[in-house]
Symmetry: D2
Amino acid sequence: MKLAVVGGGSTYTPELIDGFARLRDTLPVTELVLIDPAADRLELVGGLARRIFAKQGHPGTITTTSDLDAGVTGADAVLLQLRVGGQAARRQDETWPLECGCVGQETTGAGGLAKALRTVPVVLDIAGRVRRTSPDAWIIDFTNPVGIVTRALLQAGHKAVGLCNVAIGFQRKFAKLLDVAPAEVHLDHVGLNHLTWELGVRLGGPAGEDLLPRLIAEHGDAIAADLHMPRAVVDRLGVVPSYYLRYFYQHDEVVRELGSKPSRAAEVAAMEKELLALYGDPALDEKPELLAGRGGAFYSEAAVDLASSLLGGGGSGVQVVNTYNNGTLPFLPDDAVIETQARVDASGATPLAVPALDPMYAGLVSHVTAYENLALEAALHGGRERVFKALLAHPLVGQFEYAEALTDKLLAHNREHLAWA
Amino acid sequence: MKLAVVGGGSTYTPELIDGFARLRDTLPVTELVLIDPAADRLELVGGLARRIFAKQGHPGTITTTSDLDAGVTGADAVLLQLRVGGQAARRQDETWPLECGCVGQETTGAGGLAKALRTVPVVLDIAGRVRRTSPDAWIIDFTNPVGIVTRALLQAGHKAVGLCNVAIGFQRKFAKLLDVAPAEVHLDHVGLNHLTWELGVRLGGPAGEDLLPRLIAEHGDAIAADLHMPRAVVDRLGVVPSYYLRYFYQHDEVVRELGSKPSRAAEVAAMEKELLALYGDPALDEKPELLAGRGGAFYSEAAVDLASSLLGGGGSGVQVVNTYNNGTLPFLPDDAVIETQARVDASGATPLAVPALDPMYAGLVSHVTAYENLALEAALHGGRERVFKALLAHPLVGQFEYAEALTDKLLAHNREHLAWA
Amino acid sequence: MKLAVVGGGSTYTPELIDGFARLRDTLPVTELVLIDPAADRLELVGGLARRIFAKQGHPGTITTTSDLDAGVTGADAVLLQLRVGGQAARRQDETWPLECGCVGQETTGAGGLAKALRTVPVVLDIAGRVRRTSPDAWIIDFTNPVGIVTRALLQAGHKAVGLCNVAIGFQRKFAKLLDVAPAEVHLDHVGLNHLTWELGVRLGGPAGEDLLPRLIAEHGDAIAADLHMPRAVVDRLGVVPSYYLRYFYQHDEVVRELGSKPSRAAEVAAMEKELLALYGDPALDEKPELLAGRGGAFYSEAAVDLASSLLGGGGSGVQVVNTYNNGTLPFLPDDAVIETQARVDASGATPLAVPALDPMYAGLVSHVTAYENLALEAALHGGRERVFKALLAHPLVGQFEYAEALTDKLLAHNREHLAWA
Amino acid sequence: MKLAVVGGGSTYTPELIDGFARLRDTLPVTELVLIDPAADRLELVGGLARRIFAKQGHPGTITTTSDLDAGVTGADAVLLQLRVGGQAARRQDETWPLECGCVGQETTGAGGLAKALRTVPVVLDIAGRVRRTSPDAWIIDFTNPVGIVTRALLQAGHKAVGLCNVAIGFQRKFAKLLDVAPAEVHLDHVGLNHLTWELGVRLGGPAGEDLLPRLIAEHGDAIAADLHMPRAVVDRLGVVPSYYLRYFYQHDEVVRELGSKPSRAAEVAAMEKELLALYGDPALDEKPELLAGRGGAFYSEAAVDLASSLLGGGGSGVQVVNTYNNGTLPFLPDDAVIETQARVDASGATPLAVPALDPMYAGLVSHVTAYENLALEAALHGGRERVFKALLAHPLVGQFEYAEALTDKLLAHNREHLAWA
């Protein structure tokens, strides 16, 4: 079984490698290719990756390459974890929207649109090369904004599933609070990527008892603290929103916070520098402590589970992923991409039925879906007008003057990444 | 043919009477009952109404009463134009939301929710009395928020149609600009009450040539000026939004404007005082000039047309009204109430097919529909929690802290009008 | 020794009476007159006042009257604690400025100007009557805004001193934290009423050791919590600002807070209702617990100390009061009224020398002094233009559009209290 | 007579040269040295300068050098027109303050502080070199923020006068409106650099008739349009504020504007590129049209007038400059630097008496003076704490959270220019 990781030179990769090593029974990888245009970085990361495999006695080989076509050839699955423009572009995404009082964030709002515009063409190019070299390979997309990118892939006919770590994070958190095994926890996780609510937390499976009311009653403070939202939010809603709902439920407060502190990109960039220095140490043969602060907890577990289900291995077969709606949320078009519990097997992902979504959430989901639709149009076809339309359609923008100004700022800060601009 | 007007003591009534007088060929009313609990005011208005009929040689009789049941008995149609709490309540609706930076308006946002909460139970009570006394009567609802009130009526099984003057205003305006008869102008008017866009302006009927691009090119300045929006909005969208879209497209600017000037309610209250003084003059036998500034242009024409179509008279048979969606906008539930061109006859209103609504608008329409759904729940069943949910679901509120604060303010200012509060 | 209390029907009065009773050695009052136009209320308060004196064995008499001239005749000192327009006017002051994003507060910003405009003419009328009936009487002004009201009194040639409880509150608080007697604590308290900083906390007197650095280091959390400001504010400034500096240092956050909760006036009004019910109980002969939440802690101690110093009794002779600057703060005009430690005796109050005020504070003090100057002009001479000028000059307003809007709102909400409007 | 221009490679220099050529009777320069570290740019600008002199028959020589000491040696006057960090630094100054809702501008607010911090040490170093090489030379400072920079120079004992073109711009504008010669127009120009009001416009001199009321009545629209403020501002104040008062009187509106359009620095940078291309054309021998849009109108006339007065030539002897207050504004310290009409001769600048400044303006002037005091401390001595203090003291910042955030942003964007950071 051969896996390729596009963006394999990421400082995050050792986390993924550690997961592959620990979970080799679930996903028996024989060959792992790390692909990245940044050769120097790739060498540092690849070296550590090999030492981790060696220390844990994993028999698979790890190779590195900057040649995408060569790297993906013959792969059974290709993981996408790239970042077009790197942390520098992210820092921009997090900053310029604040100039007109709008949230600056890498996946939500105007910053998220910028990321989508930069990313979709690159991902589609990669996917095209994968299709040419390894027509049967599955594409597993971690690359943000996962919802829009996955829709771009599916719409272009690729074998793709989108993956995010929000759901698995909740699963592990709730399992710990309930003192049960993570696999016992089934989430009624509904919405769009980064716009989801846990409507139920069931023991054993979709038909299990819903423990969410008990969880909130007994552990509401801990849950709310993780979300950086007041306890009252969780109590009043009676469901658990994803952390990203802060950008909606507390928009103005978040804007003030973001305007008052260094960008997350600046923090991550500093951390990456430190991590790369550590990776260069030939004595290091496990993921360093520091990596925990880098974000992306449990991504490797989620990736292993998903890949093994898709490739006929020992995966759980049920997982929260991003895929076509196909009637799951009746108020959305079939070809919208949603994030929800799905049955996953060699034929791909099929959403499970979910509880009805309260209008309190469904209205917002419809609104953001319309934005994502327009964002994808802009990413595929370019043009100032399409960017403007997507921004006006975003519930966090919505005002004419802001949409105009944000369009100009987006273009001014992203010209080098947008072929059409 | 007997018509009853609930809220007949409104200073606006002479406008309606003038329309009935001018258009008696279309709608041959024989008996008109003005119903209002405010007997003094009713007397002033009723007197002028009779003098207007007399001067124009209308043979029908006009009676006044504060007894609702008596007044509506035997009516063929009942027009609802009431305002629970009067201008005083409206002034509140326009003011307290500003305290937390949200728009204060009688139909949009938190103020509109307050109005819905006050109004729906009163209207349903009246409709129940109409059904008991005149089971075949049509209810024509002018009472705001028309969308929510109409949905309440339809959901309770009443024979009702909702009516607003935004569409007829555009029709008349565009006819003038195009130098054609108003009846020649067919609007592709799509959305929800006070949340509509003119997607096309067709000559002669639904299949006529679309003159909207020409209208915008040649008269964009005049159109934008009427909307109090910059010309660029109309040019960029290529469609004409209703004036109420300002509360969305220019929300923050409108909040600043509203915070800087007297409320519209205060202006109207002053005007009403003046109007009533005029009405008391027995020499006055036509609607005074001043009434033009009161708002509600062309309401009487729209009402006459609608009533005559419903009652088998000489109405146009095609009119913009509020009624069940029933698949017209495919992304909304069938039982959402939309505002659009409809065929109107003795069986009621049936929406005509409309062009597809761009996601740039459809997302917002879905979001507001979800709010209206929750607003109606709150109006029907009461409770702080339902009010909070509706506010959190509103795209112009959406933030937890504001939803909480606005809920408290709404309740504090409306306790006397809310049985459950 | 005869004392008169104008506004004696306040629910706060039992606090004052309790102080007079406890501190009768310092201030041997023989006759106390409570004066208030609200006769019913005065009766309730007066009854309890007499029972408190009786229980504590105070030999003085307490009388009540609604006749101001009669009440003040022969008084040695007259205490002013009135509130023109009551809690209803205060509720307005706290609310309408929020409509354009400005702080709504009873003494700071536009609400404070409204209070000044309502209050100054009433206080000057009372002072004139005092001068006619008791030319030697001292006027002790508690009535807010104390700085502007005191300046009005002094400028009109009255024997007046302004008093606020912020300083004595700090003195008691710091004494407790330092575990010394309050009289041991000398404050370098500098600025204007409700715009002060404790620059030093000295043991024993003006030349004593400055314990403020130690206080902040050891008790910074407790001090900051009392101020409702983050600990960082106290640490970074190295001095202790008055609670009212929140309206400057955290203006936007306070506006959001105020927009999200019931007004303080509404809370106080509810409490007053409860208190009056308690006062009516003939068995009650001490100030009830509930009174502690009413605000005004230590006012009675401060008043007794000040009155006894002015009247040649056993007062401390040194106290924080409001009086003419006379060069104390060299960057302000001599006839500005400042709040600072002063020597107080039968000739009145004379400020003690204070440490130089850092430009970080002095600039703001100059700015607010200019505002107070214009506010007093507006209070004395009326006119929309003077109101506008004062608002434009206020550092928390300062913008043309806001000054215009706030002027209109101030006038609209205060017409009944402003003879000239 | 030898003059040196530090920053002589500025694209603005041809304007200055054109003035020197036209006004050679007033200021008979024999040698002009353009000094700039950017040798390439200096060559382009110097070439055009020589061609302008040649075409207009000016007999003086123009030399260029990047060696400051050599260039200033023997100079009678040194003009400072440098920009530390260039347009790139300016673009930062105009942008990052917007991220927390504060005005971003090159001389006002947090951006102006950044410029002061970068500039003061450089200017003091240059002034020290001037003093060593040409102890009698006058320093004429155009470099912004002129008020703070001039105070730094004077405080260090240099022979310096600060100059800005706001006053001469008003003089020329008013002269045109009144149809008189500019020299006939005497301004009662009072305040601090970029914080001034024209309190009077007198014909013939300080004692002439005040024509300001007539100017406003007859030309208020034109005057207000130049200021980009509503006519009402001019009418209501009855005086003419400088354009920079917009940042105070319309702060929030300006922030929105700035957040919605490209920075002024970006515009100027584009224009400079174009200008330099033009300057390279050996056929060009006059200042090009395009230079008019660069800003700085009438600077050359003001500079010639000032230099000739200081050097005993034919200057007017009375001019608006920046110099020590020395009691002119009685509410400011003597060593504050103000901007006002002054008598200028070989002994330097001595302010003329000015009308009293209304508290409506004086409060703000005091506040900004306190800020400038702290800004200079920060520029001279460095340190995060001093930056924070200056920001907290600025009337457009004033809030703790913003002062903290802006301090961090200022430092993050200016580290390369601040030796101590």
